[in-house]
Amino acid sequence: MNNSMISSSVSMSALQKKLDLIAENVANANTTGYKRKTSVFEDILNSVQPQHEDFLQEGRSTPLGFTQGWGMRMSALLLDMSQATLMATNLPTDLAIEGKGLFEVAVPAPGGGTTPAYTRSGSFQLLPHPDGGRQLSTNTGMPVVNQDGEPIIVPDGYELRVQSDGTLVGVSEADDTIIDLGRIRVVDVRMPELLRSIGDNLYVIDDIPNRENVVVVMDELPEGTMIMQGYTEASNVSLVDELTELISVQRAYQLNARALYSADQMLGMAVRLRA
């Protein structure tokens, strides 16, 4: 029937999704370790109406057939993993990664046991552990793991120190003696588009054939990457960029609404052919 109506309404729903995405980014402009989400649009389905050979007339520049598009949709959702600014908090349990990598957290798996999740949000806390000592956990209580994949336990009476290469040590509050607590695990996700957000600033990677190629546990931090104790990473949402995008999406939405209105008028005219 009226193709204009279909194309514009389909596109308006895609633009609505983009608006939702911008709203999510803006809402998280102050969320520690939040990574902004972006998306890409694509045009959908072109149908070619066949034309008879007699249509091949002089002056025609394209092959036979009249192509017709049917609007657009959102095709991919991407994470922008770029570095955000670090903010000093002076809390010993706040860690930030400068450079690449993510912290690994053990979250409960659906069928029991735990599964790894990854985060850039380093506002951790020390929670009492049933076997004694205190366990380094995220702000939702999930244990942060060390290089061996085990929870990080700080014995009572010791203070956690994190060195820039990720080494963890405990400093006795009584006599300044130092004990080794291993290293915090930092993973390099080679293909950040495979990260799937599960909320609470945590990402998981679904089952893929060559996981070891995608998620690489870093034995030592590469040059230019370090762990900063007493800092957290801010959100990498830039309000200026988001609002610019908002304006452009909103105007595109309005234009589509106009096209829909115009298509409706045309339909009205067809109906009123014989008043």
Binding site: S4, V10, S11, D43, G69, W70
Partner: protein, 288 residues
């Protein structure tokens, strides 16, 4: 019967087509790599109308030429360069091309007409992708990503092809990779090109021979000699961390939309007038 009734009806249909095309451009204002379309309108073949009879028998006097309708002939794609927008993603690539043809000065639509009236179109460059049906297709959208096995794919999931016709597989993080103007992927840490990894950048001599497939891909329907890999002398650049925006112009689209609507309305009014004439002919003439 009254010829013009059908002429006006064909006018409404042609304007509807134009409206649909403009709506699709408006819908894709934010689609990277989208190329705007124009519906060209052509009138039906002309015919000579003659008056029959008159005072002298067997004599016809020509009245003039008449076309009996209009139709949307072709949907042409405007391959003009779109603006670039910075995204800072290493896998976002934008093509900037201004390929020269000896002796031709192209206008904004990429066309040159020489003194003999020959038309030359400006060649355009595209990324080459493997379509789901196994065919090579072409796209200007460089918003690529990586599949779990390391294959470089488009946002829709089609593998991007290298010069050897095979998909490009990179099992490293893209932050280490620079893309050179000829499509070579360059390892920034090792300081040397990655062996076997060069994007296939296809130059299409007459881009009008491309048929839009949807999903930002084009299919080539011209002579086999009309496509080639980009040459060192071509003015083609790849900008990494950028995307090419849609080249649909919102202002022009709005004007075209209004014009299509009003022409549709005008044709509708003409039909109403014909209807009124027919009513008079049917009901009023010979009424006693």
């Amino acid at each position: 019967m009254l010829r013009g009734l059908y002429t006006a009806a064909s006018g409404m249909m042609a304007q509807q087509r134009r409206h649909d095309t403009v709506t699709n451009n408006i819908a894709n204002l934010n689609t990277p790599g989208y190329k705007a379309m124009t519906a060209t309108i052509r009138s039906f073949p002309e015919m000579l109308v003659s008056a029959m009879g008159g005072s002298e028998q067997n004599r016809t006097s020509p009245i003039g030429k008449l076309t009996t309708g209009v139709f949307a002939e072709e949907s042409r794609i405007n391959f003009g360069q779109g603006d670039l927008v910075q995204t800072n993603r290493a896998q976002d690539l934008a093509l900037v091309a201004d390929i020269e043809v000896a002796g031709a000065v192209f206008d904004e639509s990429g066309k040159y007409v020489d003194e003999q009236g020959n038309v030359v179109y400006q060649p355009q460059v595209f990324f080459t992708v493997l379509a789901p049906n196994g065919e090579r297709q072409y796209t200007r959208d460089g918003s690529f990503r990586t599949a779990p096995d390391g294959t470089l794919i488009t946002a829709e999931g089609n593998p991007v092809l290298g010069v050897d016709g095979q998909p490009i597989v990179i099992n490293d993080t893209w932050d280490n990779i620079a893309v050179l103007n000829d499509g070579t992927l360059y390892d920034k840490q090792l300081g040397q090109p990655i062996p076997g990894a060069q994007l296939m950048l296809t130059v299409v001599d007459n881009p009008n021979m491309l048929i839009r497939e949807g999903y930002k891909r084009f299919r080539y329907e011209g002579p086999p000699g009309g496509i080639r890999q980009v040459q060192p002398g071509d003015r083609v650049e790849i900008r990494q961390g950028f995307l090419e925006r849609s080249n649909a112009d919102p202002t022009q689209s709005m004007v075209d939309l209004m014009s299509a609507l009003r022409l549709y309305e005008a044709n509708q009014r003409v039909i109403q007038f014909y209807d009124e004439s027919l009513r008079l002919a049917a009901n009023e003439i010979g009424k006693v």
